[in-house]
């Protein structure tokens, strides 16, 4: 029974803390996964038990989970239980809840674990950001994810889904939920939704809307709209984020909508969200071998496309690092789904285990590139250099650099 902590649960909680502490002390991990695994092995229902009596917001989708969860945590104010390191499967969820007694919790959830997390935590709100291709060598086809979400969400009566109205796959997943707050937020990536999830015919994307011949179309009753201004439930708000990128404006709009659905005053939350400057090392200024760098993370075609649009206004050199390990997906074919042509006129220094794959992509895109085999190839510069890296490359650069 949820809520009744057994001896076994207490033992499991102790194990989570001890193993995570050891993991951190031995510097072998971020200290959020190993302990959670041990705890769940001792008490398989630990997550549901830890969740009991708390109010949850869950965040899922391909891109923006960590940032949106950070915005919710800071906008909520006070202590919030939160899986801040981005460990977004059950061990990470357990660790977040063991480490905080707050009765408010926000968890980012891996797309494949949303059903399990929903069942265990009984959230008030689930925010569904977007769905696009990502790590196809180990993850499910993205349409299957949408289908599964739709299947279990249609039975959820006691929660509100905050959903992106401009992502047809998200709309397909959420449209049967009785309570949905649709968010009309800019979502440039459509390639995974060009054929209709209902009838497979083409989805037509127009300036303000999208539709398919079978009648499946963009929802018309909108809770939140984001253009130059942000409107939530008809009220206008001044969104002035410290974080760069139009995708972060979309994330903020959805975070604030989620908070409004648990009764938080949007104006009060807004100032805290606006002030957020770095999330889990993303956008942080770091020092690496005498260079001052700004670390940027993108993990898949949609993420890279959004990030390239953000970086587009300047013409400085750009450093990029690409790996293809388990956590990145072993297959870097996706490089050909990213419009690197946007970088023409700039020089890109290629790092990472798959720097040659990147170099070839840039070569065919007509972008000037340098394959970096050693530090000597790097020009000395006083200005901040943007380093755009995919997942494990980002972790390496973060670990290999120091705070500025």
């Amino acid at each position: 029974m949820p809520g009744r902590f057994s001896f076994r649960d207490d033992l499991a909680k102790g194990a989570v803390r001890t193993v995570n502490l050891l993991s951190r002390l031995s510097a072998r991990g971020s200290g959020t996964v190993a302990g959670g695994r041990v705890g769940l092995a001792i008490a398989p229902n630990l997550l549901a038990h830890l969740a009991d009596g708390r109010e949850f917001i869950l965040v899922s989708g391909t891109n923006g989970k960590t940032t949106t969860a950070a915005m919710i945590a800071s906008g909520w104010g006070g202590e919030v239980a939160w899986n801040a390191t981005g460990s977004n499967m059950p061990p990470g969820h357990v660790a977040a809840l063991v480490n905080s007694t707050s009765n408010r919790a926000v968890l980012e959830v891996d797309e494949a674990w949303l059903f399990a997390a929903t069942r265990a935590t009984k959230p008030r709100v689930i925010a569904l950001l977007n769905l696009s291709r990502d790590q196809l060598d180990r993850a499910n086809e993205v349409r299957l994810v949408a289908e599964r979400w739709r299947g279990f969400l249609s039975n959820e009566r006691d929660l509100t889904v905050v959903a992106n109205a401009n992502d047809p796959l998200v709309v397909y997943a959420a449209e049967l939920v009785p309570s949905v707050a649709w968010c009309d937020v800019p979502t440039p990536w459509h390639i995974d939704a060009v054929s209709c999830p209902v009838c497979t015919k083409p989805v037509h994307f127009e300036e303000e809307t999208w539709w398919s011949e079978c009648g499946f179309a963009k929802p018309t009753v909108i809770a939140t709209a984001l253009t130059d201004e942000l409107f939530v439930d008809g009220e206008s708000y001044a969104l002035k984020l410290e974080l760069p990128g139009s995708f972060n404006r979309s994330n903020a709009a959805m975070a604030l909508t989620a908070l409004s659905r648990v009764g938080v005053d949007v104006t009060a939350a807004l100032s805290k969200v606006n002030a957020l400057a770095s999330v889990a090392g993303r956008f942080s200024l770091r020092r690496w071998k005498g260079h001052c760098i700004r670390l940027l993370l993108a993990k898949n075609p949609a993420g890279f496309t959004a990030m390239l649009a953000t970086l587009g206004e300047v013409n400085d050199d750009l450093w990029m690092a690409i790996n293809a390990r388990v956590a990145d997906g072993h297959d870097p074919s996706w490089l050909y789904d990213v419009p690197f042509e946007l970088l023409r006129g700039r020089r890109v220094y290629c790092f990472g285990e798959r720097r040659l794959d990147l170099a070839v992509r840039l070569d065919y895109a007509g972008v000037d590139y340098v394959v970096v085999h050693g530090e000597r190839a790097l020009p000395v510069s006083d200005s901040v250099i943007d380093v755009l890296a995919n997942y494990t490359a980002f972790q390496e650069w973060r670990a290999g650099s120091t705070a500025c």
Partner: protein, 240 residues
């Protein structure tokens, strides 16, 4: 001169919205650039699902999920694609594209969906999914790539495979793809031509009907590195 070439190399990327799961459009870019850099006039056409099938020197079919693969083959059947190919057009197909050219294939909900029948090849559902690196010996060269599919393809005795599998599954663990007078195919999905510049050049040469001058590019180093990595000779250190 081959019949599919009239002075302009026309590359048709067929239904990229359906058959372009993972960077497959890269093959079109590679052909276009490698031809252009040799001074060959080249035109790239993206054929959308609502478009007429154009006349082209080479048609590219990519990979796709089950639903889109089914929609794709139905659209191709109704289009003039097969006539264009019988008329001298050349096809390069990867993954789902390979299956589509064959006699039949298995998709979700149907074990025997009819293909275009341009090549005698039957694809059944494999017991496991093949996900990982693929190395294929093609003549005296090696093709390196990545496969991600659930098919097991059997070729008619008269159909020549593209090559012999040295790592991964390909069609059936022994052979990969096929090579006919009008179509080449492989299970190495995505931008396989980016990783194998020699294959891109052989394709262009085959459409043009003559040998090409060598073209040095960044892809040469990538090909050497992948070949060394996948055949056991690991390479170089890295930063940071």
């Amino acid at each position: 001169m081959a019949r599919g070439f009239d002075g302009v190399l026309k590359v048709a990327l067929v239904y990229p919205e359906l058959l372009g799961t993972y960077g497959d459009g890269g093959n079109a870019l590679v052909l276009e650039e490698r031809a252009r850099r040799r001074g060959i006039e080249v035109r790239l056409v993206r054929v959308g699902v609502d478009d007429e099938m154009p006349d082209a020197s080479i048609y590219l079919l990519g990979g796709g999920e089950d639903g889109p693969q089914r929609v794709g083959v139905d659209l191709l059947r109704r289009s003039s694609f097969v006539e264009h190919v019988r008329d001298g057009g050349f096809v390069f197909a990867v993954c789902a594209g390979l299956q589509i050219l064959g006699t039949s294939f298995a998709v979700e909900g149907d074990d025997e969906y009819q293909g275009l029948g341009l090549v005698g090849a039957v694809t059944r559902r494999g017991e496991t999914r093949a996900v990982g690196d693929l190395v294929v010996r093609v003549g005296d060269r090696r093709l390196v790539g990545f496969e991600n599919h659930g098919g097991r393809t059997q070729l008619d005795a008269s159909v020549e495979p593209l090559g012999v599998v040295e790592r991964g599954r390909g069609n059936d663990g022994a052979a990969d793809g096929f090579k006919t007078a009008s179509a080449w195919a492989t299970y190495a999905h995505g931008p396989v031509l980016a990783m194998n510049p020699w294959l891109a050049d052989e394709l262009i040469a085959s459409v043009l009907g003559h040998e090409l001058e060598p073209l040095a590019s960044a892809a040469d180093e990538l090909y050497r590195e992948r070949l060394a990595t996948l055949t056991g000779h690991s390479s170089s250190g890295r930063l940071p």
